[in-house]
């Protein structure tokens, strides 16, 4: 089963390599991975999408927790969460297809962010199903290139994945 794991880490040199190396060394899958600093600039959030049965996921969680620079590990799939992905899709547009491309983008509330005489570049943000659906509709037009960010996710209200130390300050402002 697919799991989305949020890993809060020290924002230090080599931490990403350590986390990624843990997955490769033990033969775990990484479907996608994204990293960026959190509100607290001394920490970063790594969002990993992985696949495995329950014992594997349990090991992944434990192994991640064991890394010295890992501060917190949350399996978002066990909670209520939101996930999003952004994709940039460059489609071939023959003159007769340009209207169709715009229509498809509109349906998905995607934006055309770049155009050339022969291509449109479409930006879409949404959950995986939405991104996949758009890609499938654009495919007949001829897709030249797709870049996807990988998924990021956040827990709804009840559970928190960012550093708790920072949050009271946030609430005040």
């Amino acid at each position: 089963m697919e799991h989305i794991i949020s890993v809060l880490v020290e924002n230090k040199f080599g931490v990403l390599a350590r986390v990624a190396g843990l997955f490769s060394a033990r033969g775990y899958n990484i479907e996608s991975l994204s990293v960026a600093p959190t509100l607290d600039p001394t920490t970063s959030m790594i969002t990993i999408v992985t696949v495995g049965d329950d014992p594997i996921i349990e090991q992944i969680m434990k192994q991640l927790n064991k890394v010295v620079e890992v501060l917190k590990v949350v399996d978002l799939t066990e909670t209520d969460f939101l996930d999003r992905e952004t994709a940039l899709i460059k489609v071939h547009t023959k003159p007769e297809h340009r209207d169709e491309a715009i229509r498809i983008a509109d349906i998905f509330r995607a934006k055309i962010v770049d155009s050339s005489p022969t291509t449109y570049t479409i930006e879409i943000t949404g959950d995986v199903d939405k991104v996949e659906a758009l890609i499938n509709l654009l495919r007949p037009l001829g897709i030249r290139e797709i870049i996807r960010t990988g998924r990021i996710a956040i827990a709804r209200e009840t559970t928190r994945t960012t550093s708790p130390r920072r949050e009271p300050a946030l609430l005040k402002t």
Binding site: E58, Q59, V68, V70
Partner: protein, 592 residues
């Protein structure tokens, strides 16, 4: 006052109570070595190869319980300790390895003797750090020692660029660590422990299975109390030997691939398995689907990842083994003080185990022609009883030593378990001897393993480390040959060691006493003379090239499917001479 990085380094080591550093110099660490030679508190043991330094530090750490410290240069200096780091990582040995690095402005330029030390060592260390600023050095060293020694111990590498060792910075040794992501669990969950205690009282066929974690946790007394109070037999993994006296009536010796028949049978038919600081390694469990099929499992370990990694646990307890067992023993004492009742409950089980033991004890047949390795180890144990520290290498001799050298105290059995590093034994023995100059330190090794780090004989002589090397010389990579005999139709691909050196002359070349026993009748005298000798000594003992180590669970077999002796077709082949001939056609097994 400002100090150079090298001074800060030495001061920090002093604060950590380091007395001995094992290492070898090189370009980028010269400043540190320069400071080291101008002080007296910390002694440097110069090794002849960096791998030797790493294993010596391991031997030192295993024998003392203190961290072993390694100091080597960049590039090849660092890559040469990788085996030691990987070994220490597998066997949870607390090491702090300091490696030199090229100056920060050269990092990434493929500079002379540059290697990505942090990158290379990442998967085989508990933690590692590149120090980029001299002002971070003391804090980093403090944390390195803390991480190496706390929780599940392990190796930590600190990479120090040349300019960091020469730059000046303010020195104040930090009094605490600042690691918000690292906080090992020490005391176990009370409810879990209580549940475990209840199961222990009820079980009819329980067994305690102790691993290396018990040694590092200093839990020998607690294990003994638990076993005696509840009358439960104790088996130990290769790493756990010494945590319970091998001579105790409840001791079952080592389990697993080359464990005793009675031990593995007891595992297989047990109804409660109490795993203490052990990690269900494949050499222990054999076929997982048939491992302890009837047992409920209590698993105590400080490392949560060890629990349910390969095998299920009904009652997992994360915590320090010593702390958890203490809590458990208190509960058990309160639960039932009636010793007679417990004894009565366990009696049939202990009787069954005893019957297994009588049915198939460890055996070998010593004749007058060729020495059996088991005989040498039995004699060695008799001659040094309860007083020696034993380091072994890896292979048949290691398994024979584990079976026949019944260690009684923790930290007297030093061996490479998880990684199975040939070449570990001799330097590890030297490291232990450095820590305990007055004790008898034995290195039980073989011609194959010994040749992998024999250069350290020079270190032994220079530092007056009187290690007694007992070299069981069978002319083969014995364990490889055994597997080839059993599973590869006796084709000895690359297991026969032709052209062996004359080990006695080799020892003499290093100014070490060399002794030889060619025949069984000479063994006793050689061992006695060697043990009596004041300095280091190498005893080259010719042993049966064809002796196989039994019992044996073939890889992928279950605990009750042990082989107890050579299968008939193999014995035939040996008698018929087909195996023998293959060797005789070569250069001859042993030096003339």
């Amino acid at each position: 006052m400002k100090k150079t990085g090298a001074d800060i380094f030495v001061e920090s080591l002093r604060h950590e109570g380091v007395k001995t550093v094992f290492g070898l110099p090189g370009g980028v660490v010269l400043k540190i070595f320069d400071v080291l030679c101008q002080q007296k508190d910390i002694e440097l043991v110069l090794t002849r190869h960096e791998q030797g330094a790493a294993h010596m530090a391991e031997g030192y750490a295993k024998a003392t319980g203190k961290p072993g410290v390694v100091l080597v240069t960049s590039g090849p200096g660092m890559t040469n300790i990788v085996t030691g780091l990987a070994d220490a990582y597998m066997d949870s040995v607390p090491l702090v390895a300091f490696t030199g690095q090229v100056s920060t402005n050269l990092i990434g330029n493929d500079a002379f003797q540059e290697a990505d030390n942090v990158g290379i060592s990442r998967p085989c260390t508990k933690h590692n750090v590149l120090v980029k600023d001299v002002n971070e050095l003391a804090q980093t060293i403090k944390e390195a020692f803390y991480i190496a020694m706390s929780g599940r111990p392990g190796p930590v590498l600190v990479d120090i660029p040349k300019d960091v060792s020469t730059d000046k910075g303010e020195f104040k040794y930090p009094d605490k660590v600042n690691l918000r992501g690292y906080n090992p669990t020490i005391s176990g969950n009370k409810n879990q422990i209580k549940q475990a205690a209840e199961e222990i009282m009820k079980a009819k066929k329980p067994i305690i299975y102790v691993g290396g974690g018990a040694i590092f946790s200093d839990a020998a007394d607690e294990i003994r109390e638990l076993a005696e109070m509840t009358q439960i037999p104790v088996t130990m993994t290769l790493m756990g030997l010494g945590s319970f006296p091998g001579t105790h009536p409840l001791a079952l010796g080592m389990l697993g691939m080359h464990g005793g028949y009675w031990t593995n049978m007891a595992m297989h038919y047990s109804d409660l398995l109490i795993a203490v600081g052990a990690r269900f390694d494949d050499r222990v469990t054999g076929k997982l689907s048939e491992f302890c099929p009837e047992a409920r499992v209590i698993h105590i370990d400080i490392d949560p990842t060890s629990i349910k990694k390969t095998f299920h646990a009904h009652i997992p307890i994360v915590g320090d083994v010593k702390a958890v067992l203490r809590q458990m023993n208190v509960m058990l004492r309160a639960m039932d003080g009636n010793v007679a009742e417990v004894k009565a409950l366990r009696a049939p089980w202990l009787k069954q185990v005893d019957e297994w033991k009588k049915a198939h004890p460890l055996t070998y047949k010593q004749d007058s022609k060729i020495t059996k390795p088991q005989f040498v180890i039995e004699r060695l144990f008799e001659l040094t009883k309860h007083s020696a520290i034993v380091a072994t290498d890896v292979g048949q001799h290691q398994m024979f030593a584990a079976q026949y050298f019944k260690g009684t105290k923790p930290r007297t059995w030093l061996t490479s378990g998880g990684l199975g590093t040939m070449g570990f034994g001799f330097p590890a023995a030297l490291g232990a001897q450095k820590a305990f100059p007055e004790k008898v330190v034995l290195c039980i090794t073989s011609e194959g393993s010994f040749q992998m780090n024999l250069q350290e004989m020079a270190t032994a002589v220079e530092h007056k480390l009187p290690v007694k090397i007992v070299l069981l010389n069978n002319g083969f990579h014995g364990m490889v040959r055994q597997w080839q005999d059993l599973f590869y139709d006796g084709r000895y691909s690359a297991s026969y060691l032709g052209r062996l050196p004359d080990f006695v002359k080799l020892a003499e070349a290093y100014n070490i006493l060399g002794l030889r026993a060619e025949k069984p009748g000479e063994v006793e005298a050689v061992l006695k003379e060697g043990l009596k000798h004041k300095g280091p000594v190498l005893m080259d003992i010719y042993t049966d090239p064809y002796e196989n180590c039994y019992p044996m669970i073939p890889a992928g077999g279950a605990h009750h499917e042990m082989m107890l002796e050579d299968p008939p077709e193999l014995t035939q082949a040996k008698k018929g001479g087909s195996h023998k001939r293959k060797v005789d056609e070569g250069e001859g097994v042993l030096p003339a």
